[in-house]
Amino acid sequence: MAEETLVLFKNIRNPKYDKSLSAYKKSGGFKSLKKVFGMKPDEVVQEVKESGIRGRGGAGFPTGLKWSFMAKGTGKPSYLVANADESEPGTCKDRELMLKDPHMFLEGLMIGCYAIGCHHGYVYVRGEYFPSIKSLNEAVDELYADGLLGLDPMGSGFNLDITIHTGAGAYICGEESALLDSLEGKRGHPRVKPPFPAVSGFNGCPTSVNNVETLACMPFILGDNGVEDFKNFGPQNNSGTHLVSLSGHVNRPGVYELRMDVNMKDIIYEFGGGIRNGKKLKGVIPGGSSSPVMTADEVDVLYNFDDLAKKGTMMGSSAMMVFDEDTDVVKLLHRITRFYAHESCGQCTPCREGTHWSRQIIRDFLNGNGSEEKLLRLNRVGGNMMGTTLCALGDAAAMPIQSFVKKFPEEFRKYYATV
């Protein structure tokens, strides 16, 4: 059987590991932070750039580059905010890290804070994640008690505080600028960009928002020979291991830590143990519910950013949702569309109206009132949200609609009205 590559999960996969600070330290924890405190912040950013790590939050933006964009000399404080709002349907990887090895993520956050000169880091956690919130708070308490947070940790002279902030359960607050609004105590509405958070973010100060998993990679990258090793975990431009949330009709769903040169087919049939009940594969939503759907004969592809992009889809938050031959694709699309209609913040016209309207049309199909005209309309309404909105939620809602209509048109025909 294929093996995981354990970097982020090296402790989690150890049955004896108890996630306490002492256990984390025993496993080599906080060595990287110690090393980082001996480096210049710019050197840290440079190492991160060289590792080639791309953000694990969905967009795959190079993290080192993001940090190098942070406005300098503004006279304002800088902030690092960890995005732990994990709410893209299918995604459940950050939860594993926060719940089972919070110190690895927090060390990564601290390294990031040092790299961008932030003295107060925030973790914005999804409101429904009660156990993760508890786990993080306990871990932060341990760090303060140990002196690793607060004044002058490890004699570095670098004072650092971390606050765990809980959201109220809105998908849109995972979008970085809405997250910052929410963190400031306002309604979570995505902001106009530019200015990007690196120039004007939390309270108008330079801010970097990074995904939990992205930050959790930092202790490895800044460890001994980390940069080189990290690059070797995947093809060029797709470095590192990543956490794949595998769900749906597979025999062994779960979160797997994989290299970036693993074939999607193998993820389904080797790691996932194949389709349950011996059924045939119908399709896969490869990277969270917003990514364009793939049919069964498209899944022979390396599961990483670039190879999926070449196939016209995306890896997003690496959440694979597998569905078998018995699945009603129209119902599936209805469920996805309902999610986006419910989670749209509603401020921009195409997303507010389009998510709801397209849901109404799909429901009309499910009621047996479909028609060729309505299918074209669905595709048009979906397409009209694409690239026309303020934040990427409009795209996220459009992509499944357009791809489902394109790849499974005959499934919609089943719901045409019979006259």
Partner: protein, 551 residues
């Protein structure tokens, strides 16, 4: 400031025309300034940019670096840059607008026939321009319901297009935060917090900035179709700020006042109290409809000639000394009227016994500009009276000294010293009291002759506001048949008393004033007509006391 604005300003290209912009300015703002029309809803020059309606899409074919933008851009949020090329009319843009407009209409009630916004609704305009005329929406529309949100405005939420202008208004302009957005997604809507009615004194502006008929003025509801209204520029005389307004009227009836943008005075805003002053313009019951003369103790209608000759005869008989003559005026009189009254006294009686009430007033400081609009100073032409050196003080002490003399001839313009019973008692005993005014008041009750004047919506005139900016009003509606503008009455009166002036219009009087009164020197009527102009020679003490806002 450079001699002409474009001297040092960078330029970019809109539809083949070079447009100048200030560094950091957005495409839409620069375009609007140059008279280009780009459809938009959420953008308002006085508030923050949210770029959410997505209507202002333009095609940036060259971002200034030789490369086109990857997709249509919202003009309200994109910085103009040197060498940028923007197309606002190509098929791609039209297609983009069309689809945004379609989305805006899927849940819109389109009840234009009963909507007060109809005729001045940009949604209606753009739907007409970009809409297909046929809806593809087969399902029932969203219903959010009507809400009673305050004394001044009505909220019909079904018509709301969620542009958030109203929300930003109470956050950014009034700072009162009593109004906001609720719910999410297609249920996003607007309301007041905790069901409380709105309290800010500027609610009417929310109706102005709401691009559709969701927020409308209660006062105007169902009264007139907007396209029937004729509009004239004027100045609100509710207080000494002198907000620029348009008086909107139909068939000689005035229906509303709307703010007229003037960045040096009221920006885009107007207070609710000022808006309500339209009511008095339509008032007929207490109006003085024609000249009146006292016959056997009772006021009776007389002709203008009878009035003038009666006054001339009495004045001749009385041969009053300068100190036996008195003129009182309020500060609702225009600069020209004050000037002519003062001149009449000087020319005929060699007297400078002219007084007006000048109460002191306090202006509280505020971090919100709009709060400086309403002043407690309801003397709209105080600064004009001061510039003409008309006498007066907060406690009327100077006046009380002047009325110690045996008075023979008294002229009263408007309704000055209305609450000063003592003054009125004294003046009652004068040999001849002439009242010029628009409304009956305690002065017309004691006057021997009453001359019927006109309200400022019916005549021309200039007013000097608290910042000593001279601004002009226009004739909006036709005056009552047997009334005359006060400047003309004063001129005629002067002529019948043997000292003719031949001014043919209020503007003519203004020009004479600029020659004869130092404070008004170097102004021309043409120059003040659009946005007004501050006096070149200002009065030092305007009676204003700035007080710190109590927090």
């Amino acid at each position: 400031m450079p001699l002409f604005k474009g001297f040092n300003m960078p330029v970019f290209d809109i539809d083949g025309e070079l447009v100048e912009y200030e560094p950091g300015e957005k495409i839409l703002s620069a375009a609007l300034r140059c008279g280009k029309i780009i459809p938009h809803y959420c953008y308002h020059p006085g508030m923050s940019i949210v770029a959410t309606c997505r209507m202002c899409l333009v095609d940036v074919v060259d971002m200034g670096n030789g490369r086109p933008a990857p997709k249509l851009q919202t003009a309200c949020s994109m910085d103009a840059t040197e060498g940028m090329k923007v197309e606002t009319l190509n098929p791609k843009v039209e297609e983009g607008r069309k689809l945004v407009n379609e989305f805006l209409l899927v849940n819109h009630p389109l009840d234009c026939p009963i909507c007060d916004q109809s005729g001045e609704c940009t949604l209606q305009d753009y739907a007409f321009e970009y809409g297909s005329g046929k809806s593809e929406m087969d399902y029932s529309k969203r219903v959010s319901g009507w809400r009673d949100i305050g004394s001044f405005v009505a909220l019909e939420r079904n018509r709301c297009i969620q542009c958030s202008r109203c929300d930003r208004f109470t956050r950014e302009i009034t700072g009162t935060n009593e109004f906001g957005m609720f719910n999410r997604g297609h249920e996003l809507t607007v309301d007041t917090y905790a069901d409380r009615p709105m309290t800010n004194k500027f609610q009417g502006n929310m109706a102005d900035i709401c691009p559709v008929g969701a927020i409308t003025e209660k006062e105007f509801r169902f009264k007139r179709r907007a396209w029937k209204l004729k509009k004239n520029r004027s100045i609100c005389t509710g207080c000494s700020t002198g907000c620029n307004v348009t008086i909107e009227h139909d068939r000689n009836e005035i229906f509303r006042l709307k703010p007229h943008e003037n960045q040096s005075v009221n920006k885009w805003w107007l207070c609710d109290e000022g808006r309500l002053t339209y009511r008095i313009m339509n008032e007929r019951k207490t109006r003085i409809h024609q000249p009146l003369g006292r016959v056997e103790g009772k006021l009776e209608g007389i002709s203008w000639e009878e009035a003038y000759s009666a006054i001339a005869e009495r004045v001749g008989d009385l041969s009053a000394l300068p100190e036996e003559v008195l003129a009182l005026t309020d500060t609702h009189a225009s600069n020209e009227e004050l000037f002519l009254l003062q001149k009449l006294l000087k020319d005929i009686f060699s007297s400078d016994n002219i007084f007006c009430p000048l109460p002191t007033w306090e202006q509280s400081e505020s971090e919100f500009f709009i709060n400086t609009l309403i002043t407690t100073d309801n003397t709209p032409n105080r600064a004009g009276a001061l510039a003409l050196k008309i006498k007066g003080d907060a406690k009327s002490t100077k006046l009380k000294k002047a009325i110690e003399n045996e008075l023979k001839v008294v002229f009263v313009l408007g309704n000055p010293f209305e609450a000063e019973v003592e003054v009125q008692e004294k003046i009652k005993r004068a040999q001849l009291v002439v009242h010029l005014g628009t409304f009956h008041n305690s002065w017309s009750e004691i006057a021997d002759v009453v001359l019927s004047g006109q309200y400022y919506s019916e005549k021309e005139g200039t007013f000097t506001n608290k910042d000593q900016r001279v601004q002009a009003t226009e004739i909006a509606v036709k005056a009552l048949r047997r009334t005359r503008p006060e400047w003309q009455i004063l001129m005629d009166l002067s002529a019948s008393l043997g000292h003719g002036n031949s001014y043919s219009s209020s503007a003519d009087v203004f020009n004479a004033m600029t020659e004869q009164v130092k404070s008004f020197a170097d102004l021309s009527y043409a120059e003040i007509r659009l946005f007004g102009k501050e006096l070149n020679h200002k009065t030092k003490d305007s009676g204003m006391k700035v007080v710190k806002a109590h927090t």
